[in-house]
C-alpha cells in the first residue's frame, strides 16, 4: 500500500528541459530524492536552481511547449506519474497531491468568489453536492484560522489580505485531505510577521492530518524548524542531501556552507552579512565542469574541467563535489571546535 519501503514519493533521475531561443535550458537535470510517508522534505536553492520546476514536474504542470519532462520516474504511492494518462493525473492533482504557490495575490482567481474556488475541489474529487461543498468550504476556512468564515466565504480574493489569501490557498490545498502537500515558497511574498504564522499553520495542520510535505524555499531559516530532510539544489542539480540536523551541523558541500553562512545569526557579533559572490549561472549555457565553480571558494582546476561526482558521505548524506569528503571533515572539525558555542547550540536545538 505504501509503495516501496514506505516512501510516498520517489523521484528518480528527473530531467525537465525548456526550449528557448537561447537554447535548451536544463532547468532540472537528473534529480533524485525520496520522501517518506508523513515526513517533510525541504528543497532549498536560489532562484533558477530548478526547485520549483522539480515540483511542477511532480504533478506534470510543466507548460509544454516550451517545457518537457525528458526522462525520469516520479513514483507516487507505487505509481509512476509520468506514465499515467492526463485524466489519471488530474484525479491525483488537488486530491492526492495538492500545491500551495508562492504568490497568494495572483494564485487565486480574482473573478471568482472564494467559496466557488474551494467548492470546486470537493465537488470534483469527493462528489459533494453544492450544499455539502459549501459547508465544507466554511469548515476549511475555519480550520486555517479565518475568523468569521461563514460571512467571509463569499468574498472575492481582493477583499482579503495577503496572509488571509495564503490561508485560503492552504484551505484549498487541504480540502481533499491530500497525501502529499507541496508548498512552493509559501511565505516569500508575505510580510515577515505573517510568514511565521503561515509556517506555524502548515506545521500544525501537517501534524493533525499526517500529510507528507515538500517545502520549497530559498530561505534555510524556513526549513530548519520544519523539515526532516533537506535537499539543496543548484543549477538544476542536487548538490547535497541529508537529514536536516546533519546538514546544518556538518554540511558536505561548499555551496551549502555558503548558504549557511549567509543566514543571519542573531547572536554573532559580526556586522556585515556574508553573501555568496557572483550570480547563479545561466542554465542554458553551463560550463563542462561544476556549475558552482565560478563562485566557489574551494574551486580548483579540476572543478572547471570535470563534472563533480555525487559522493556518499554517510548512507544518508550525499554531496556533489570533487572535495566532498574534505569539506565534510572540515565541517566536522569546525563543529567539534565550536561544540560549546551558543550559536551552534541554537541551530541544533531547532529540530
Amino acid at each position: 500500500m505504501n509503495g516501496r519501503n514506505g516512501n510516498i514519493l520517489e523521484v528518480r533521475d528527473l530531467r525537465t528541459y525548456f526550449q528557448t531561443e537561447d537554447g535548451t535550458v536544463k532547468a532540472v537535470d537528473g534529480v533524485d530524492f525520496e520522501l517518506k510517508r508523513g515526513e517533510t522534505l525541504g528543497i532549498v536553492g536560489e532562484s533558477g536552481s530548478g526547485k520549483s520546476v522539480t515540483n511542477l514536474s511532480i504533478i506534470r504542470l510543466i507548460p509544454d511547449p516550451p517545457g518537457k519532462i525528458v526522462s525520469g520516474e516520479i513514483i507516487f504511492d507505487g505509481q509512476d506519474i509520468l506514465l499515467l494518462k492526463t485524466e489519471e493525473v488530474r484525479k491525483i492533482r488537488g486530491k492526492r497531491i495538492a500545491m500551495i504557490f508562492q504568490d497568494p495575490m495572483t494564485s487565486l482567481n480574482p473573478f471568482m468568489r472564494i467559496s466557488r474556488q474551494l467548492m470546486e475541489l470537493t465537488e470534483l474529487h469527493l462528489g459533494y453536492t453544492r450544499d455539502q461543498a459549501y459547508e465544507h468550504a466554511i469548515k476549511m476556512l475555519e480550520t486555517v484560522g479565518i475568523p468569521d468564515a461563514r460571512s467571509r466565504v463569499d468574498s472575492y480574493p481582493h477583499e482579503f489580505s495577503g496572509g488571509m489569501r495564503q490561508r485560503v490557498m492552504i484551505a484549498m490545498a487541504l480540502s481533499c485531505e491530500p497525501e502529499l502537500l507541496i508548498a512552493d515558497e509559501p511565505t516569500t511574498a508575505l510580510d515577515v510577521t505573517i510568514q511565521a504564522q503561515i509556517l506555524e499553520l502548515i506545521k500544525s495542520l501537517k501534524q493533525e492530518t499526517g500529510t507528507s510535505v515538500i517545502l520549497i524555499t530559498h530561505d534555510l531559516g524556513v526549513v530548519a524548524g520544519m523539515t526532516d530532510h533537506i535537499i539543496v539544489m543548484y543549477a538544476g542539480k542536487v548538490f547535497e542531501q541529508a537529514r536536516t540536523r546533519e546538514l546544518f551541523a556538518t554540511p558536505g558541500n561548499p555551496y551549502t556552507k555558503g548558504l549557511l553562512r549567509s543566514v543571519p545569526d542573531p547572536t554573532s557579533e559580526q556586522g556585515a552579512l556574508y553573501q555568496i559572490p557572483g550570480l547563479p549561472p545561466d542554465v542554458a549555457h553551463l560550463p563542462p565542469g561544476c556549475p558552482f565553480a565560478e563562485r566557489c571558494e574551494r574551486a580548483e582546476d579540476i572543478c572547471r574541467r570535470e563534472f563533480p561526482p555525487f559522493v556518499a558521505l554517510t548512507p544518508d548524506h550525499h554531496s556533489l563535489c570533487h572535495f566532498a569528503e574534505e569539506v565534510y571533515s572540515t565541517s566536522k572539525r569546525e563543529r567539534e571546535a565550536r561544540a560549546g558555542a551558543r550559536s551552534q547550540e541554537q541551530v541544533l536545538d531547532l529540530e
Binding site: F18, Q19, T20, E21, D22, V25, A27, E46, S47, G48, S49, G50, K51, S52, V53, L56, L61, I62, P63, P65, P66, G67, F101, Q102, D103, D184, E185, T187, T188, V192, T193, Q195, A196, L199, H218, D219, L220, G221, V222, A224, G225, L259, S262, V263, P264, D265, P266, L273, Q275, I276, L279, P280, P281, D282, V283, A284, Q346, V347, L350
Partner: protein, 362 residues
C-alpha cells in the same frame, strides 16, 4: 534564528537568466506572437537582456544599440514581417517609379482620356477584343487606364497615410509626453479627455467637415484630409507616449537633468521623447494603414480625394457603381489596397514583437 530574516540568498528577479524558475512557469519564447492585446496603458521596459547589460555598468548607450540590433535580428526571423516589409517596399517603389514607366510604355497617364474608345475594357483587352498588353488592369468608363490610376492612387493613399500619421505623431507625442511628465491632476485631466474622445463618433464629424469645406480644389481637399485624419488618430499615440514617459521620468538621467536646472520642455523633448522612440515607431507603423483605411472610407463615400486625383478608396467608389458589369474597376484598386494594408499590418506587428515583446497594441 527564524522567520524574521531578510531575503539574502535570493537576489531580486531582475538578475535572472533567460527564464524564471521561481514558481512561475517560463514565459513563451521571446518572439512568440504574444503582443496582440489591448492594454489601456503601455508601460514598457527594455528587454531583460538589455537591463542586464545596462546594470553591469556599460551604460544606456550600449543597451540602446543592442536593443536595436536585437530587434532587427528578431524582425528578420519573423517570416510574415519580412514578407510585409518586402511587399510594402515593392508597393512604394512601384507607386513612385510606375507612372512614368506606364506613360513611356503605353502613353497613358492617370488622367488621359483617349479621344475614342471611351468605354471600359476588361484587363489585357484591346478595343477589338483581342489580347493586348496596353491595359493590364483594363480601363474605366472614360477609357482611362486603370493601372495608371491605381499607381496614382497608391501615391496619394501612401502620402495621405504618411503625412497624416506625422500630424498625429506630432500631436500625440507632445500631448502624451506633457501629460506623463507633468503627472498628477493635469495628467488625470488630460487622459480623461483622451478617454472621452476615444468614445466619440468623430468620424461623422470629419464627414461633416469634409462635406462642407471640401470640394474647392483637389489639392485643398488633400490638405484638409491630412489635418482631419491626423487630428483624429493621435489618441492611442498619446497614451503610449504617456506610459513611456511615466516609466522613464524617474530614472537617473532625468533626475540628473532636473538637478542641473534643465527646463521642463527641454527635459520632455530632449531627454524623454527620444527614449520613447521604439514604441512610437511601432505604433506609427500601425497607424499608417489605419489612416489609409479611414482615408479610403472617406473617399469611398465621396468626401475624400477628389477627381482628377484618385486614391484607392475613390477608385473603389468609382468601381462599386459598375460592379455587376465591370468588376475589374473595383477589384484591382481594392485588392491592391488590401494587399498594401495587409503587409503594413504584418510589418507593424512584426516590428512590435521585435522591438518589445511586452508591448500591447490597441
Amino acid at each position: 534564528m527564524n522567520e524574521d530574516k531578510p531575503d539574502i540568498i535570493d537576489e531580486p528577479a531582475r538578475t535572472q537568466p533567460a527564464f524564471d524558475t521561481l514558481g512561475t512557469p517560463p514565459k513563451a519564447p521571446i518572439r512568440a506572437r504574444e503582443g496582440d492585446t489591448i492594454h489601456p496603458t503601455h508601460e514598457l521596459i527594455v528587454g531583460e537582456g538589455d537591463v542586464r547589460t545596462a546594470e553591469r555598468g556599460e551604460g544606456e548607450f550600449i543597451a540602446g544599440t543592442s536593443l536595436w540590433k536585437d530587434a532587427w535580428k528578431r524582425l528578420l526571423k519573423n517570416k510574415l514581417a519580412v514578407f510585409g516589409m518586402i511587399v510594402v517596399a515593392i508597393i512604394i517603389l512601384v507607386s513612385l517609379i510606375g507612372p512614368p514607366i506606364v506613360k513611356a510604355a503605353t502613353g497613358y497617364t492617370y488622367d488621359y482620356i483617349p479621344s475614342e474608345n471611351q468605354k471600359s475594357y476588361p484587363p489585357f483587352t484591346a478595343p477589338d477584343g483581342s489580347f493586348s498588353w496596353t491595359h493590364p488592369m483594363g480601363t474605366d468608363n472614360a477609357g482611362r487606364d486603370i493601372l495608371a490610376r491605381v499607381l496614382l492612387g497608391g501615391r496619394i493613399s501612401l502620402m495621405v497615410g504618411i503625412i497624416s500619421t506625422i500630424v498625429s505623431l506630432i500631436i500625440g507625442v507632445s500631448y502624451g509626453a506633457t501629460a506623463g511628465f507633468l503627472g498628477g491632476k493635469v495628467d488625470d485631466l488630460m487622459m480623461r479627455i483622451v478617454d472621452v474622445l476615444y468614445s466619440l463618433p468623430y468620424l461623422i464629424v470629419v464627414v461633416v467637415l469634409l462635406a462642407f469645406f471640401g470640394g474647392q480644389s483637389a489639392l485643398s481637399q488633400l490638405f484638409l484630409l491630412f489635418v482631419a485624419l491626423g487630428a483624429v488618430s493621435w489618441l492611442t499615440m498619446a497614451r503610449i507616449v504617456r506610459g513611456q514617459v511615466i516609466s522613464l521620468k524617474n530614472q537617473e538621467f532625468v533626475m540628473a537633468a532636473r538637478a542641473t536646472g534643465v527646463s521642463n520642455s527641454k527635459i520632455i523633448f530632449r531627454h524623454l521623447v527620444p527614449n520613447t522612440l521604439g514604441p512610437v515607431i511601432v505604433y506609427a507603423t500601425l497607424t499608417i494603414p489605419q489612416v489609409m483605411l479611414t482615408e479610403a472610407f472617406l473617399s469611398f463615400l465621396g468626401f475624400g480625394v477628389q477627381a482628377p486625383l484618385a486614391s484607392w478608396g475613390s477608385l473603389a467608389n468609382d468601381g462599386v457603381q459598375n460592379i455587376a458589369i465591370f468588376p475589374w474597376q473595383l477589384i484591382f484598386p481594392g485588392v491592391t489596397m488590401a494587399l498594401a494594408l495587409f503587409s503594413m499590418n504584418f510589418l507593424g506587428d512584426g516590428l512590435r514583437d521585435a522591438l518589445d515583446p511586452q508591448m500591447r497594441k490597441v
